[in-house]
Symmetry: C2
Subunit: 280 residues, 2 copies
């Protein structure tokens, strides 16, 4: 089939279907070559003009889930981040854990004095000479971008906090830096402004090759919402119990009993959690 099929993205944009993009995204799931080929064939056979990326994703996910639940969990990372809502707090905790894993000393949700006013900072991260003020922008809607207003506002907040930090002893030699972390995408303007003023930016796919998807895959710190063996209600209960990673389920397995999951499913969930977070 050489005809081009046009598909509809989350943003509403219409683009030609690109099989290479599907293959790249499936490779992230670490499914084996054979399964990937099977999925590509099935998707190819089911394409029609105007199909949405969401529908294509659903089809691929369903096949993955049937044949390799852990691959499906890896594949659904973006969606799993969306499912951390409605509040932005689990996403902040995830970012805190990710930075801890990368060697930073972190604090999540702290009130700090700025030069002019107090600020509630999502994550503060320190390592050696680096002292970061991190603001997390969580969106539950994939179509939403993090526009230029976000880094504009965070830059002012950072400057206000930095002014106060610099008054502390030993801080004049530290590298203070403000960061924006978002689970969705940054607009071109947001990247241009942030880069220009020296604000750090991290999103689902930015910076290229080291976005959140790559960092989470590399660290194995998958959110528990990625697990295909848990129901939505069970995920909600675990998030409410203040845990956010698959890994933490494994470390706090008594919680599964606590939220009323039977022994057989407990074992299955723990197996999947272990496989998803310990393979790296």
């Amino acid at each position: 089939m050489t005809n081009t099929i046009n598909i509809v993205k989350h943003s509403g944009d219409i683009v030609p279907f690109d099989v290479e993009k599907l293959i790249t995204s499936l490779k992230r799931s670490q499914a084996n070559e054979e399964l990937i080929q099977q999925i590509v064939q099935q998707v190819n056979a089911s394409l029609y003009e105007g199909i949405t990326t969401k529908q294509i994703y659903k089809m691929a996910f369903k096949m993955l889930k049937g044949k390799s639940p852990v691959s499906a969990s890896r594949y659904k990372l973006k969606k799993a981040l969306m499912e951390l809502g409605p509040s932005g707090f689990p996403f902040e905790k995830l970012i805190g854990k990710l930075l801890s894993h990368e060697g930073y000393e972190t604090k999540v949700g702290v009130i700090v004095e700025g030069n002019c006013v107090q600020h509630e900072i999502d994550v503060i991260a320190q390592k050696d000479n680096d002292h970061y003020m991190i603001e997390c922008k969580y969106h539950s809607d994939q179509g939403r971008f993090c526009n230029v207003k976000i880094p504009l506002y965070i830059q002012s907040r950072f400057l206000d906090v930095e002014k106060q930090w610099k008054k502390q002893q030993g801080h004049n030699t530290k590298l203070h830096k403000g960061w924006v972390y978002t689970n969705t995408r940054l607009t071109t303007d947001a990247i241009q402004y942030g880069t220009c003023v020296g604000l750090g930016l991290a999103s689902w796919d930015y910076p290229k090759g080291n976005g959140l998807k790559e960092r989470i895959d590399k660290s194995g710190l998958h959110p528990l919402t990625a697990l295909t063996t848990l129901t939505k209600a069970e995920k909600r209960k675990l998030l409410d119990k203040n845990i956010v990673l698959c890994k933490e389920i494994y470390e706090n397995s008594y919680l599964l009993e606590e939220i009323g999951i039977d022994k057989i499913r407990q074992k299955k969930i723990l197996d999947d959690s272990l496989q998803l977070c310990n393979e790296h």
Copy 2:
């Protein structure tokens, strides 16, 4: 009656009814003393525990409207500003007109180059040595406040624009200043931060004694939404024709014919407009 009646504010706060506040707000309408007394008596007689400020306002407005339509128009200024929506553009135009009236050369809705990115600036105002970048925050809901995120974001935008302005010839001696104008209220934090970084702030009632209400009353630049003789649909049509002030109706009276208002009502509307804007 000496018992205290508790009333419910727009914000949801519960406060004891204060007759002095009602009298002060009625005085703004320039209604005569006798009418004010009548209204106060009627309101006092109709109070009940848990009545909302909105209900009290409606009662007072209805009596004013019956006896003195122009007083009612003055009285409904805050509501008239709310009715400029749903887009923020008429409010920006109103602010532009107000600053023009105060002697500034103004431009509304312009794209300017910043040091890092382009910005769409709501109003640019210049007079002698002053060069202002003004951002307007319009809310259609009285309960909403302009919180600290707004001045934080506008300060960064201002710094980015100022950096570019300073590169222009003759600009090194000018006073560049960023401003936030809002039709609702500013939070304490927003005022504290704005004041601290040197951002100008103007809201419905800030700065005290020179808020938008006082400046509009003094200038006679009442929005056309204040007129009690126009229907909502007619106001919308006039706003769509790019006019925003009562005064502009008087200056462009042919528009009333254009939107299909009969001669008798045209005369009434023009009389009210003239009285409302020319008494100052």
